[in-house]
Each structure stands twice: as C-alpha cells, then as structure tokens.
C-alpha cells in the first residue's frame, strides 16, 4: 500500500517503525490468547507439585490420569453428555421455531410486520437476571424446575430475539426475483419457503446454529439458577462445583485444568473451523 511517489527517507523510516509497532502490539495480544489455551492444556497434564514449582516447564511425562480422574470421579463425563444434550436439543428447537418466524418477518406483507419485528428485537435489551425469580416460579409451576428439559426450553425462549434478528438480516438480503419466479411457477407459500428460500438461507441458518451452540455451551447464569441436582449439572456448573470442592480437599489444580480443557476444546475446534463465519454473523447483527 506504499505510495511509490515522493516518499523521502525519513517518512519511510517512520512508516517502518510504525509497521513494526503495529505487528508487535497486535502480535503480542494474539499470542497471549494462544498462550492462554496452550498453557491450560499443558497445566492439565502435570502433577500438582510440578504445576506450582515449575509453572512454565513442559510436561515431559504427561499425567493422563488427571483426565481419567476428572472424567470419571468428578463426573465430567456425565456433565459433558448433559451439556451436549441440552445444547443440541436447544439449538434444534431454536431453528425450528425461529427460521419460519424470521422468514415471515423479513419477507411477508402484513400489517404490523415492522412493529412485531421490533417487538422481538426489544427482547435483547432485557437483562436476564431480572428473569431469574420469575423463571424459577414459572418452571416450578410447570413441573419443569431443576430439569434439563426445562433448562433447554428457557434457553430456546431467551435466544429467540437474537436469533430472529440475525436470521431476518439473512432473509432480507436474498433477492426477490427468485421468490417471484417460484410463485409464478405455481409454488404455494409453503413450497416457496421450503424448497426455494430455505436452501438459499442455509449459510445464515448454519451461522446462527453455531453461534447459539457456542453461546449456550458456555452459558452459566441460567443453569446456575435453574439447576440444583448434581446429576443435572452442565459442564460450566461442573467446573464451578469442582472449584468449590477444592476449598476442602486441597487444590487439585491439574484436575481442574483438565476439566477446563474438556469445556474449551469443542468450542475452540468450532471456532478454528468456522471463525470467519462466526465473526461475520456477529458483526452482521451489530453493524448493518
């Protein structure tokens, strides 16, 4: 991007220093993120004593037993399955509920469409802690308190505003000619949606699915409020309970870091595979 014209020596030197500073700053910050992940994984393979005496050394004899202990005795295997179950079910239900609604809100013509769309989007401004007590009351009344199915219903309902918002953006950006062509060719409304518009919006639907999967996988406050029984814990709650128990049983930090690795790995893999898509999905929501 350097202009080939009159750049005297001093300005090019300045540019060079600026360049170096840019790479140093951005590079250092980025490296810290990598360090964060790598250090945790390394820490999870050490003995407790070594972790404290030599926090920077590499585990030459990796202690895989930390994982066995966390997975079995600390029940992280069960928590992992709980998380996987709740999050998968929630994301599936969320798509079934939100895709048709977003399609109609973005493309149908009826009175009050914009008002209704705004009404949905307003939900993003409601602070979730405001709902803690009412949700516990409602869920207990519905006999769904302290259950994974109850938690997933709440997850779906509370993810509706954001999901509809992002999906509406995708549906609105599709060209209208294809829709018209389908209608002229005699497709019913439903056929137009199912066979024509849905396939076109697939990238958007996939993006929303991933964003919600990651968001719910990491979700912590709602599960904290709605789940009491140890056997219904999700991974985040499992980690919190492990930290609480460490106060009494001395610090099994490597076991804790093993648990953290188990929580981190799925979302990091998703992010590495689809970071572009996730970032574009989030920014599309915030920046039109």
């Amino acid at each position: 991007m350097q202009p080939a014209s009159s750049s005297s020596r001093s300005t090019s030197l300045k540019r060079g220093i600026g360049r170096a500073f840019t790479y140093a700053t951005v590079g250092a910050w980025s490296l810290f993120t990598v360090f964060f992940v790598v250090w945790i994984v390394i820490a999870s393979l050490k003995k407790t004593r070594d972790l404290f005496s030599e926090p920077w050394s590499l585990p030459l004899k990796p202690v895989w037993g930390n994982y066995v202990k966390t997975w079995v005795s600390s029940h992280f295997g069960d928590y992992f399955l709980n998380s996987l179950w709740v999050v998968s079910i929630s994301v599936c239900m969320l798509l079934v509920v939100c895709v048709p609604a977003a399609y109609v809100l973005a493309r149908a013509r009826f009175r009050g469409r914009e008002a209704l769309a705004n009404f949905f989007i307003l939900g993003m401004g409601v602070p979730i802690p405001l709902l803690f007590v009412p949700l516990v009351v409602i869920m207990t009344t519905l006999r769904m308190g302290d259950s994974l199915s109850g938690l997933s219903v709440v997850y779906v309902a509370l993810s509706v505003p954001f999901t509809i918002y992002v999906l509406m953006g995708f549906f609105a950006s599709l060209p209208g000619e294809i829709e018209s062509a389908a209608i002229i060719d005699g497709c019913s409304d439903f056929q137009t949606f199912w066979h024509v518009m849905m396939p076109l919006a697939m990238p958007g639907i996939a993006t929303v699915a991933i964003l919600n999967f990651v968001g719910l996988w990491n979700e912590y406050q709602l599960s904290l409020v709605l789940i009491n029984s140890p056997e219904n814990r999700t991974l985040s709650l499992g980690i919190y309970s492990l930290i609480s128990s460490m106060q009494y049983s001395g610090g099994d930090w490597p076991g804790l870091f093993a648990g953290i690795t188990i929580v981190m790995v799925p979302t990091i893999i998703m992010f590495v595979a689809m970071s572009e898509r996730m970032i574009s999905g989030i920014t599309m929501g915030g920046v039109k």
């Binding site: 980025s30 993120t33 809100l105 949905f120 009412p134 309902a157 509706v160 990491n218 106060q247 970032i279």
Partner: protein
C-alpha cells in the same frame, strides 16, 4: 401461513421472556420466599429497603466502575486494534480471530485461568514479576479486598475488547478504501486517518456498540461471580450477583425473592435510562457515503 409461522416463536417469547419481565414488576411488590403460598403485599417497601442498603450501593458502584473505567479500556483497546488492523497489514484475519477468540471460551474456564494468574505467592503473575526482579510488585496480594475488583476487571477487559474490536472493525471495513488511499497520498498518519476519516464515517457503529456495552455492563454477572469463587467477596459484587445472592444465595440461601426481583427491576430501569442518555449524548448527523 403468516400466523402458523410466527406462532411458536411468539408463544415462547411471550411466555418465557415478556411475561416473566412483567411478572418481575409484580413480584417485586411482595415479600415472598417462593415456597409458601402466601405472598405478603409490601408495596414499595422492597425499593425503600434497597435505597438504604449499603451492599446494593456498593454493587452499583462496582457496576459504574465496570461501565466507565472498564468501558474506557475496552473501547480504547478496540480503537487501537481497529486502527492497527485496518492499516493494511498482513494476516489481518488471523489476528482478528485470535483477538476475538476469548469470547468463544466458557467464562468459567477463563476466570479459573485468571485466578491462577493472580493467585497470591504461587500465581503466574507473581512468578513473572519475581523472574524479572520486581520483588516489591511480586509480593502484592492481587486478590486482597482492595485489589480483587481490579484483577477481575483485567480479565473482563481482555474478553470484551476482542468482542468490540470485531464490531468496530467491521464498521471500518465498510468505509470506501479510496478515502484512505487519498489520505495516505496526502501524507496523513495512521492516527490522523483514524481520527478524521474512520471515526466520523463509522460514528453510527460506535454509538451502537457503546449502547451494547451499556446493556452488557449493567447486567453483568457471570465473569465476576465465577472469578469471586465460592466465598465471593462483596468487593466484586455487581447488582446481578447481589440479586442472585439475595434470591438463591450460596451455602445458606436467603430466598428473599421479592427483594431480589426489585434489584432486577432497578437494573432494568438503569439500563433504559443509560441507553436513552447514551443515544442523546452521541447523536450526530449521519454521514452519507
């Protein structure tokens, strides 16, 4: 078709988001522990008690510090990263992904890491400071009552700055490149370009992100709560944490559900006021390009 497509989403949204929000206002006028069927009408007593509750004011102060001090750091970093990343450097997408990455990792994982960093005597930070010979700093207790809030804020800023960087950067990417080209040819520095071209051009994006930060900061719970650990100190309380403690407590639950909900209503009111104030302060004529 319109009705059948909208009905499921609308029902869930009304039933489990809109209705509980309204119900919260109602519950906050009662004294109840939720387990007996009797809800005792106390009118505005919960709010009067809140007004005189020192812990609540402490949690509000923490919230304001997160909002203002944390916000200044988050947006400062986000602006710096946007400026550096939009200067046409190699590997922009890679850096952007790595800066954002903390946002895809579970909060509980991140807080545990930071707890280990700030741990007294054995922590990574103390370890680093010792190795470079800053023993006076190494002996500081980062989790002591006067420091624990700021230690927590460091981790929070680390995550949030990545989130707001990608939003502001996405706005900057929409600015026509020939503007930057022209400015560069005229010999403008990176800083000047950012200050006089990027910022005015993406002003609407900056307003949206600041409003978003307000909403997030006021309701924040997960990070400070997990960072505080099982014996959380009041120095890292936010209104949302105090709400949770008053409602469901920790070892010995309080179950002051009416009182807890009143805190939620206060948070909601503060959110609305803050968003309106932000929008009023930051209003400018939109630029066409």
């Amino acid at each position: 078709m319109v009705i059948s497509f909208l009905a499921p989403a609308l029902l869930l949204y009304l039933g489990l988001l809109v209705f509980p929000s309204l119900q919260a206002f109602y519950i906050s006028l009662f004294k109840t522990s939720g387990f007996s069927d009797t809800m005792q009408w106390v009118g505005l007593d919960n709010y009067i008690a809140l007004w005189n509750d020192k812990v609540f004011w402490l949690s509000l102060l923490n919230m304001v510090l997160i909002l203002v001090v944390g916000g200044a750091c988050v947006f400062g970093l986000a602006f710096v990263f946007t400026m550096l990343l939009s200067s046409g450097l190699w590997g922009k997408k890679l850096f952007r992904a790595l800066i954002f990455m903390p946002n895809v990792i579970a909060v509980t994982a991140i807080t545990t890491f930071w707890s280990f960093v700030f741990m007294p005597r054995y922590g990574l930070l103390t370890n680093v400071l010792k190795s470079v010979g800053l023993d006076s700093l190494a002996s500081v207790s980062w989790t002591a009552p006067e420091n624990v809030f700021w230690s927590m804020l460091v981790g929070l800023v680390w995550i949030s700055s990545g989130f707001f960087t990608i939003l502001i950067l996405a706005g900057a990417d929409k600015v026509p490149t020939d503007m930057f080209e022209a400015a560069r040819l005229e010999g403008a520095s990176q800083l000047q370009i950012f200050r006089f071209i990027t910022v005015p051009m993406i002003w609407d994006v900056i307003v949206i992100t600041m409003v978003l930060w307000c909403i997030q900061a006021i309701k924040i719970m997960e990070f400070p709560y997990a960072f505080g650990g099982p014996n959380i100190s009041q120095d890292v309380y936010t209104p949302a944490i105090y709400l949770y403690i008053m409602g469901f407590g920790q070892r010995d639950p309080v179950y002051a559900l009416g009182y807890a909900t009143a805190i939620g209503v206060a948070m909601f009111a503060v959110t609305i006021a803050a968003v309106l104030a932000m929008r009023a302060c930051l209003k400018r004529e939109p630029l066409e390009f």
